[in-house]
């Protein structure tokens, strides 16, 4: 049996699951160690260090402020997402049923859809103040247009013959919507809802960065304004953890839905 080269042994070790995890730990450990020990006194001001950052995070956990800000971000995001989705689906179905109304309004919808909604943030702050309402409004309007468009796509793809068949049977408008339009548009609506989650998250953060009194974005903005690198990095760390969590939840929902679809 030939003796393996050390580099070969290494490659084989990394190919195994525990090996891969160990390698990842080595990489992050090295980076953290470098971050902790390499910078001199001057750089430390800008770069902080892992130990300080974790200690700061720990202090936020202890005094409960982390949960307050995390809660504010999640609340703004989910409220805005929920309102935007509900209104978007409803209006999409209404337009699907009243194509003439939709044709009249479609240039305005297209114009508003194309506009980056974050530009409305200052306006909403004037109208609703720097409380959570302005963020909810911004997220809702962003999600609304995305969902409206995917619902419209879905409704447009519904076979007219199907809705006619139901009308001939004596179905009312709302029955046609419930029994044909909505189920037919559902795959498009789900796609829109999946895409919107990321937009809701990003725009909540952006709104908090622009002007807010609460939230993770507010923490980042606040500490960087105070030239407090440790606080800034600690808030960014929270954001990283949130993003990973959100991605995990989303892909779990997608897997579950894909399985449900396969069965139907």
């Amino acid at each position: 049996m030939p003796i393996a080269e050390p580099s070969q042994l290494m490659t084989r070790f990394v190919a195994t699951v525990p090996g891969r995890i160990a390698a990842r730990l080595v990489v992050i450990g090295a980076l953290l160690a470098f971050w902790q020990f390499a910078p001199g006194k001057a750089l430390r001001f800008w770069m902080s260090g892992p130990v300080d950052i974790v200690a700061r995070l720990w202090s936020w956990i202890l005094d409960g402020s982390l949960w307050e800000h995390l809660g504010a971000t999640l609340t703004a995001m989910t409220l805005g997402y929920g309102i935007g989705t509900a209104v978007g689906i409803s209006l999409g179905l209404v337009f699907g049923f009243l194509p003439k109304l939709h044709r009249v309004l479609s240039p305005y919808i297209a114009a508003l859809y194309a506009m980056p909604k974050i530009a409305l943030a200052p306006l909403f702050i004037i109208v609703f103040g720097i409380g959570i309402e302005s963020r909810v409004a911004l997220v809702a309007i962003t999600v609304f247009f995305l969902i409206l468009n995917s619902t419209l796509d879905g409704v447009r793809n519904v076979d007219r013959d199907l809705t006619q068949a139901l009308s001939l049977m004596g179905a009312t408008r709302s029955e046609v919507i419930r029994k044909v339009l909505l189920p037919a548009a559902l795959p498009w609506i789900f796609t829109g809802m999946r895409i919107s989650v990321r937009y809701a998250f990003t725009n909540t953060l952006l709104a908090e960065l622009i002007s807010a009194n609460m939230g993770i974005g507010f923490l980042i903005e606040y500490y960087s304004g105070m030239f407090d690198a440790t606080g800034t990095y600690a808030a960014i760390l929270v954001l990283v953890i949130m993003s990973v969590g959100l991605t995990e939840v989303l892909s779990w929902v997608e897997r579950t839905m894909a399985r449900g679809h396969g069965r139907a």
């Binding site: 076979d159 013959d161 199907l162 006619q164 068949a165 139901l166 009308s167 001939l168 049977m169 004596g170 179905a171 009312t172 029955e175 029994k179 044909v180 189920p183 037919a184 139907a264």
Partner: protein, 269 residues
């Protein structure tokens, strides 16, 4: 069936009804002005070459199309919107792809206008599935059914709510001969029992003579009525044997002579 007795109200009346469609280089005349009266409980078969406007007449009767000229009356009321008194089985089956066969058949019974208890609806669905020979396929989705089976599901879905008028556009086109006879028999029984009025579009002259009180032969496009022939075979007819009677043969020959020319002309166009 007494021919247009002035005392009785026509179920369906086309008065000079025509249809032209705008196409890219002008107009397509689908239907020349047609006058036609269908009596209550009458079974009318429309035969003619492809594209002769038979389906257009059904669409006019259902209120899915408005005539370019002329008028369409149902129960002496002008048809101006979707006609909810008819059950329309279109050439293309309009089954909902996300509902299985049984759920598709049940859908008309779920509507508010004829709401019924769940178990009664379930019973009627089971009965009609038995009737059209789809037992064992209740849980299959339309995409998992053959063309002929989808036709039968569409037929069941239309028959189950017993509309007073049935419009059928080549309902049995994709079926094998034996099954077709069975379903023709069921259709005759049900429409007689429920006193339905029927307008039935078909390519199959034998099918038309077997079922209809009157057979209407259309000319090639642009469609107009060539011949109207009353079929005075006694009812109920034995759909399995009636085609071997001399009366049937005589009618078939007479109508085929008319239809033949039109089919030849139709293929020329």
């Amino acid at each position: 069936m007494p021919p247009s007795d002035p005392g009785t109200m026509a179920k369906l009346r086309l008065v000079g009804a025509s249809k032209r469609f705008a196409v890219h280089d002008g107009e397509l005349e689908a239907l020349r002005p047609v006058d036609l009266i269908v009596q209550p409980q009458e079974f009318v078969a429309l035969v003619g070459p492809s594209g002769c406007g038979k389906s257009t007449i059904l669409n006019l009767a259902a209120g899915l199309l408005r005539p370019t000229d002329g008028m369409v009356f149902y129960d002496d009321q002008p048809v101006t919107t979707i006609n909810r008194s008819v059950g329309y089985m279109t050439q293309k089956d309009t089954l909902l792809p996300w509902r299985n066969a049984a759920d598709n058949i049940r859908i008309a019974l779920e509507l508010k206008c004829r709401a019924m208890p769940r178990d009664e609806a379930a019973l009627r669905v089971a009965q009609i599935i038995e009737l059209i020979g789809l037992k064992g396929f209740e849980r299959h989705f339309p995409a998992q059914l053959s063309g002929g089976m989808r036709k039968r599901v569409a037929l069941a879905r239309t028959l189950i709510y017993e509309p007073e008028t049935l419009l059928m556009d080549e309902p049995f086109g994709a079926l094998d001969a034996q099954l077709k006879l069975l379903l023709l028999d069921q259709l005759q029984n049900l429409t007689m029992l429920r006193r339905m009025t029927v307008m039935f579009v078909t390519h199959d002259l034998g099918e038309a003579i077997t079922l209809a009180d009157r057979v209407i032969v259309f000319s090639a496009r642009p469609g107009r009525i060539r011949t109207i022939r009353s079929i005075d075979l006694p009812r109920p007819r034995d759909v399995f044997k009636v085609r071997f009677t001399s009366e049937f043969a005589r009618l078939h020959e007479e109508l085929w002579d008319v239809l033949k020319d039109e089919v030849v002309m139709g293929t020329d166009v």
